[in-house]
């Protein structure tokens, strides 16, 4: 990957998308890297489409504006694919990571992805329901992103998920999220 990786997250309010971006920033601090995580702030409503961003770089990050040409696009809610253009500003080698029950080839066709663009799917909502009984797909999406990009080792990510969720939730929920993160990492599909 290039010295700076720019990530754009698409989710809906209440799915933990912003938390995922924050956890990723924290995890990527390792190895002396520079990080940013920031959502696009609007009226905060559960279910409303939202974007969040990460920048991860070996160089100091001075840019303070939304990511326009993402290296990675993470779609936490597949219903967004029909309402917004999640490929806006994508590069010729952008990686798309989509939470969906559908096959990666079907997604690739739907997006009209180029030959150098990677399309990766993971059924993150099902994983979340299996692991902790709630449709909060953020932790399996982090696992999938970790596998797809190699930005950070899964061990580091799991430590940070534990730390971050540990501030707010019970041991049962933490364990469920750790399991979900691992499964997200293991269950990615690519076409």
């Amino acid at each position: 990957m290039a010295e700076t990786t720019e990530i754009r997250w698409h989710g809906r309010g209440g799915q933990g998308t912003v938390t995922a971006a924050k956890v990723l920033a924290d995890t990527c601090l390792s190895g002396g890297r520079y990080v940013q995580a920031f959502p696009e702030y609007g009226p905060e409503r559960a279910g409303a489409p939202l974007r969040a961003y990460n920048r991860i770089s070996s160089k100091e990050l001075r840019m303070h504006c939304p990511v326009l040409n993402p290296d990675v696009v993470t779609v936490v809610d597949a219903t967004l694919l029909d309402s917004i253009n999640i490929a806006e500003g994508a590069k010729e080698n952008t990686i798309f990571i989509i939470n969906t029950t559908k096959a990666p080839m079907e997604m690739r066709e739907k997006l009209g992805a180029g030959s150098k663009q990677r399309v990766i799917t993971v059924d993150a909502t099902k994983i979340a329901l299996d692991c902790f009984g709630r449709a909060l797909p953020n932790s399996p999406m982090l696992g999938a992103l970790c596998k797809a990009t190699g930005l950070v080792a899964i061990e580091h990510l799991l430590e940070d998920v534990k730390k971050s969720f540990g501030k707010k939730f019970s041991q049962k929920i933490i364990d469920g999220n750790l399991e979900a993160t691992k499964r997200g990492y293991e269950e990615v599909k690519e076409a």
Binding site: L29, V35, P39, Y41, H64
Partner: protein
Amino acid sequence: MAKVVAVTGNEAVANALRQVNPDVCGIYPITPQTDMMQRYASFISNGKVDTEAILVESEHSSMSACIGASAAGGRVVTATSSQGLALMWEMLHIASGDRLPIIMPVVNRALSAPLNIHGDHSDAMGARDTGWIQIWSENAQEAYDNTVQSFRVGEHMDIRLPVMVCLDGFIISHSIERMEYLEDAEVKKFVGEFKNLFPLLDLDKPKSYGPLILTDLYHEYKRAQHEVMTKVKDVVLDVAKDFEKLSGRKYGLFETYRLEDAEIALVILNSAAGTSKDVVDEFRNKGIKAGLLKPRLFRPFPYEEVAEALGNTKAVCVMDRADSFGGYGPLFMEVSSALYHLKERPLLINKIYGLGGRDYMPSHAELVLNELAEIAKSGKIRTYKEYIGVRE
């Protein structure tokens, strides 16, 4: 040992305040500052600091409480944004007029109407003439560093003035970035024990603050405020020197970026300066001599130094994230005044950008730098003041 963390600007500044552990903190919430004072309130509740919180019913009361506590002899802080700062307005003059070194982070936000919670500089620019020192910050690291340094500046025995530390609402206050904390003990030692000057609680020596002074001496009193402002620059630089020894991070009255041999330059405050630096690099790569000046100390404004730094350029654009409707942007007016005394000076234009949190993108900086290159070549200015990034 410095600790590297990924935190929001609000969290960074709340931690700077925690490390200083002031005596009193006036607390009233307003977006986007709320989260900073909420964190500080947690530090108080969790026994991390022994600050006395004064929970008030408005920002006017918050500043009033701070004035009382500071005159009584305490080290005092508060924080605000936007309408909150506007509501404090008359009390801001009393804090500075009474020479009370209150420290106040201002998380910059647009002013109503229409209602908008996002970042621009209208709030602090509106407090330009209140007699407060103003220090501006590009990112979370600078907001933290400036907050730590502001205590030494405001509380200096030759100065004794309140200080605003400005950071961009949401763009910095709510974004997570990598930055470094100093050790608690290092900050405590750097800031030092609070020294009193004429505390009201020294009951053996009664004194009064803010008495009636009419035509006999008011004029002289105000001149004294002007005089003390002329000493601030040196103190800011001395404190920055000590801070560099401690942290390795260098601060001045302003930051220059690739300005030494620049022919065209941007003057721009806070977070948008960071975005602009990346674009300046792109122009340099194309062989265009672009540079940037980012003011840090806005009050008092370092006119001579700014004039010297920009004196050899051919064309400069001053970028304002606030407007004086019917006039130029507030930063433009300062830079323009600074350059007037030069025999040879650059051509100067003013762009208003990013009001109410409108994104400032690299393309905006490109647009302006291209216009400056054209002005430098032709010597002709199309328009002096213009809004950029406007939806037509």
